[in-house]
């Protein structure tokens, strides 16, 4: 069934059933991905999928339902379920956005990217794999090599006259190299995300992955204690992704954020500025409107250590008597409207990564963190995480450490930032917004080395 026809019929039937306000949210995405193993296509995927969800106000309460099957029966399924759900909900009322707002005119869709043929993408990936294998005799094999692109479109309509649509696309390459020396096996990864296929460089990708893997060989053990620490850009980004919910007004209002009551207060070192930019050209969360239809805007969340604003959607903004900041996102048509950042990052400063560690008499560089979904307490900020990295002596990297854990508290880390690097990088793995950071120099963190 066609979307426009589906929408019109849904609104008519919905109003008949007693919904005062009703919204249709639509998403569709096309994906291509290919994996190479030993020069052969090992996995290949192609898809076009989408779905719709309904939000409807019934007796002042918002009901939700969604479906991936767009047929006549689904209209009944959606409305009946949304009604039953609305009747049960005891939460503060949500509202639908009337529209008539002014939206930024930015285009996040690259038509050139859709023109790149599958053959070219596969050939590029084969080249990357070949270059990884040829880079160093210690390369044992390629753990995985994948290229993927995604085009997505979303649209939002309601019976108050709102009609919005948006498109985005990106391509990503990830390769993991396995290196072996004696019995020791290490891996290193390179992930690139772009809208410009021609910007990708196979040599550079192979080099980054293999060099990282090699750099972890020959790890040593070091005393367990508190060290000055350089947190590398993507490690900070992965940490910030875990604790970003603390900045959402939803968590604050539910008493699940230690940032409650801290607006206007200093919560971080004066070196730290946190920005949310929904218009970032390469941002995968870039959009001119959020899932409620509210126009997005650039937001300074923390400015030189001072907490300026939380993230708001319509419901949480109403409760605090402020305007929505345009952060009412849902993860997909299957989700409910929550509050999440768009492209959220620590503003970069001057120092290069090398400059950051060259000032350390003794210290640890943390390149990568693991176990973030389990080793971090999102509310308290406490974390104890597996980490990879190097030992630094007199400003020079002495070599890899054995497996480590670092333990501390995220909010303390923010206060202990002594220097901010210039090497802003985003972590493509985060589901909770698109999160980035430069490398940071931290006063001290407890480190345990295996």
């Amino acid at each position: 069934m066609e979307l426009v026809k589906f929408r019109d019929q849904l609104f008519i039937e919905g109003e008949k059933l007693g919904f005062s306000d009703i919204e249709l949210y639509y998403e569709k995405s096309s994906n291509f991905s290919c994996q190479i193993f030993k020069g052969e296509i090992d996995g290949y995927e192609s898809s076009t999928v989408g779905g719709v969800s309904v939000r409807g106000l019934y007796n002042g309460k918002m009901g939700y339902a969604y479906t991936e099957k767009l047929d006549e029966d689904s209209i009944k399924f959606l409305l009946e379920n949304a009604k039953e759900n609305a009747q049960l909900i005891e939460d503060d009322p949500e509202e639908l956005f009337a529209g008539n707002a002014k939206y930024e005119e930015v285009n996040f869709f690259s038509p050139a990217l859709t023109e790149v043929s599958a053959e070219d993408k596969i050939a590029f990936l084969k080249d990357v794999e070949k270059k990884v294998l040829a880079y160093d005799p210690r390369v044992d094999q390629v753990d995985f090599a994948v290229i993927q692109d995604e085009s997505s479109e979303k649209a939002l309509f309601n019976n108050k006259g709102l009609a919005l649509s948006d498109q985005n696309n990106f391509l990503f390459v990830a390769v993991s190299a396995l290196v072996k020396e004696g019995e020791e096996i290490k891996n290193g990864m390179c992930i690139k995300l772009t809208k410009d296929f021609t910007s990708l460089n196979a040599d550079e990708i192979a080099k980054t992955a293999v060099e990282e893997a090699l750099s972890y060989l020959g790890g040593k053990t070091y005393p367990n204690k508190k060290y000055p620490v350089i947190l590398k850009n993507t490690a900070v980004a992965s940490l910030l992704a875990v604790f970003a919910p603390s900045f959402s007004a939803e968590a604050v209002q539910k008493g699940q954020s230690l940032l409650k009551g801290k607006l206007g207060e200093t919560i971080a070192s004066d070196k730290v500025t946190l920005l949310d930019d929904p218009f970032l050209p390469e941002g995968i969360k870039s959009s001119t409107f959020d899932s409620e239809g509210v126009p997005t805007k650039k937001l300074t969340v923390v400015e030189n250590g001072k907490l300026n604003s939380y993230f708001y959607n319509l419901k949480t903004a109403k409760k605090d008597g402020v305007e929505s900041t345009g952060h009412g996102y849902k993860s997909s048509y299957k989700g409910t409207v929550g509050v999440t950042p768009s492209n959220f990052y620590i503003e970069p400063a001057e120092s290069s990564y090398e400059q950051l560690y060259s000032s350390l008499e003794e210290g640890i560089i943390i390149t990568e963190l693991a176990g973030l979904h389990s080793g971090a307490n999102q509310i308290s900020g406490d974390f104890s995480l597996m980490a990879y990295g190097y030992y630094v002596k007199e400003g020079k990297i002495e070599g890899a450490t054995n497996l480590m854990t670092i333990a501390g508290n995220f909010f303390e880390v923010l206060r202990d930032v002594e220097e901010v690097g210039s090497d802003l990088k985003f972590s493509p793995m985060g589901g909770y917004g698109y999160i980035g950071s430069p490398s940071l120099k931290i006063k001290s963190i407890a480190v345990t080395v295996d």
Binding site: E40, I41, D42, G43, Y44, E45, S46, S47, T48, V49, G50, S53, Y64, A65, Y66, T67, E68, K69, N81, A82, E84, N85, L88, I89, E90, D91, A118, Q141, D143, S176, L178, K186, N187, K226, K254, G255, Q256, L258, K334, G335, T336, A370, G371, S374, G375, N377, S380, D382, S384, L385, M386, L403, M404, T405, I406, A407, G408, A446, T448, D450
Partner: protein
């Protein structure tokens, strides 16, 4: 869900470029999720997933296409897109064998289909759990109770003539307690689940599960930070098994073994673990959360002994990785939904019970860590390095459980850790979890009796 002749046409269209095997996976799934937070029902969402996945093999090439356009044209188009990605030609054209419907014997009876139960009845359970948690202790700030249930209908057909349908009903209650003393917050969690309908939820012993979640949160609020260093670690039963799920289970999946990306590759018949370890993956246990009737390639569930008395016996194998290994499927091909090509995955994986009583194990530990409830973790499958959090930990001093500890993370290498198991208890229990890997997030059980590992690195905050 789709008629047989259309499926036959789709299977044939997928083989037009020389593929030697094609498969269709149709999924029609109804999901419900309800969240009660702070005593109020904050979310209640219902939805329907519907889509079709088409897979083609040619030798060691595998192509997957999926869509939720279920029209004849849409499906044939997806099949042809998949076929076009197949490279090279086949001397002999593969034909689709006539589909013959196989009857699935249902091992996991269900009485109350989730969609037949009024949501108000479900809400009563949520309210009761909320009441138990909030009344447990004045330090409890909030309870977050989440009920998820789903009815997944699948149809699996392939060019070898397989045609089979199955219905999977999952129900899970996730209980989270938040305790606070003003400046600090700690959480406790318990999440029982089953391959069963609403009767599982209604019959749950809430007094046990909800109280445990509350007790963990309150206990951790008053806990000291864990020490760092190497310690003997006692890991209790049920969800404690997550360590071996991460540390060994993933390495025994054909996805890692077929490409030699696992420390367990080429080691069948060799000693890989302590003699005390027998490790089993069993998808047939009645109504267990990780159980199945058939896997997502249509193969019957079975009990696979992976390690027996320390000797590696076999792997968990799906069809595609089986091709690379020259081995048959072990009924281990699983996927989250039609959006994922299946791969080898776990079902209910556990360490078989041993002879020691839990009391004996603690009494024999002079100075160590007792992990009463484990949190989640992850493993780097290439190296076997794992990490996971302990949700409720204690210091063990002179053979007795001492003070509670917070913020403890265990790190190590799976292949080494299973050789260091030096005591295995007699109290086998299973715990429900979600496992994420290349074929998506699927329900699995982890399990074990209480065990002791002679040495694991504990990452804490106190030196």
């Amino acid at each position: 869900m789709l008629n047989k002749s259309l499926i036959e046409d789709v299977l044939a269209a997928a083989l037009t470029t020389g593929g030697d095997f094609s498969e269709v996976f149709v999924e029609d799934r109804f999901n419900n999720s309800m969240i009660l937070q702070g005593g109020r029902l904050e979310k209640s969402v219902s939805g329907r997933d519907f889509g079709v996945g088409i897979r083609v093999f040619k030798g060691l090439q595998s192509v997957y296409a999926y869509t939720n356009d279920f029209s004849r044209d849409g499906l044939l188009k997806a099949a042809k897109t998949a076929a076009q990605a197949i490279q090279g030609t086949n001397a002999q054209e593969t034909v689709v064998l006539p589909l013959e419907k196989e009857i699935v014997h249902n091992l996991h009876p269900t009485e109350l289909m989730p969609n037949s139960v009024e949501k108000t009845r479900k809400l009563q359970v949520l309210r009761k759990a909320n009441e138990i948690i909030t009344n447990y202790d004045p330090a409890i700030a909030q309870a977050i109770i989440r009920l998820v249930d789903e009815e997944q209908n699948v149809l699996i057909a392939n060019s070898e003539g397989k045609f089979v349908e199955d219905k999977r009903v999952h129900s899970r209650l996730a209980l989270q307690a938040v305790a606070s003393n003003g400046s600090d917050m700690q959480t406790g969690f318990y999440g029982p689940g089953a391959l069963q309908g609403f009767e599982f939820i209604e019959n749950l012993d809430l007094n046990h599960y909800a109280k445990e979640a509350a007790r963990i949160a309150v206990t951790m609020l008053n806990a000291d930070f864990a020490p760092s260093g190497k310690f003997p670690v006692v890991i209790d039963n049920e969800f404690g098994g997550v360590i071996f799920h991460e540390a060994c289970g993933h390495g025994l999946e054909a996805a890692a073994v077929a490409k030699n990306n696992s420390v367990f590759a080429n080691k069948v018949g060799q000693k890989v673990a302590s003699d005390l370890v027998t490790y089993i993956d069993d998808g047939t246990i009645q109504n267990e959360w990780g159980s199945i009737n058939i896997d997502d390639e249509g193969e019957k569930a079975r009990k696979n002994v992976l390690i027996e008395n320390g000797i590696l016996k076999g792997y968990m194998i799906d069809k595609f990785n089986g091709r690379r290994m020259g081995e048959e499927s072990t009924g281990s091909g699983r996927r989250e939904s039609y959006r994922f090509a299946p791969t080898s995955r776990m079902t209910n994986t556990y360490i078989a019970p041993g002879k020691s009583s839990p009391e004996e194990i603690i009494a024999n530990t002079e100075h160590g860590i007792y992990a009463k409830y484990m949190g989640g973790g992850s493993v780097n499958p290439a190296t076997g390095d794992y990490n996971f959090a302990i949700n409720e930990a204690y210091l063990v001093k002179n053979g007795k459980i001492d003070k509670p500890l917070r913020g403890a993370t265990l790190i190590g290498n799976g292949a080494k850790t299973i050789q260091l198991i030096d005591m295995v208890g007699n109290n086998l229990g299973h715990g429900a979890g979600m496992c994420g890997a290349s074929s998506g997030s699927i329900p699995v059980n982890v399990g074990q009796p209480m065990i002791r590992v002679s040495e694991i690195t504990v990452g804490g905050r106190e030196a």
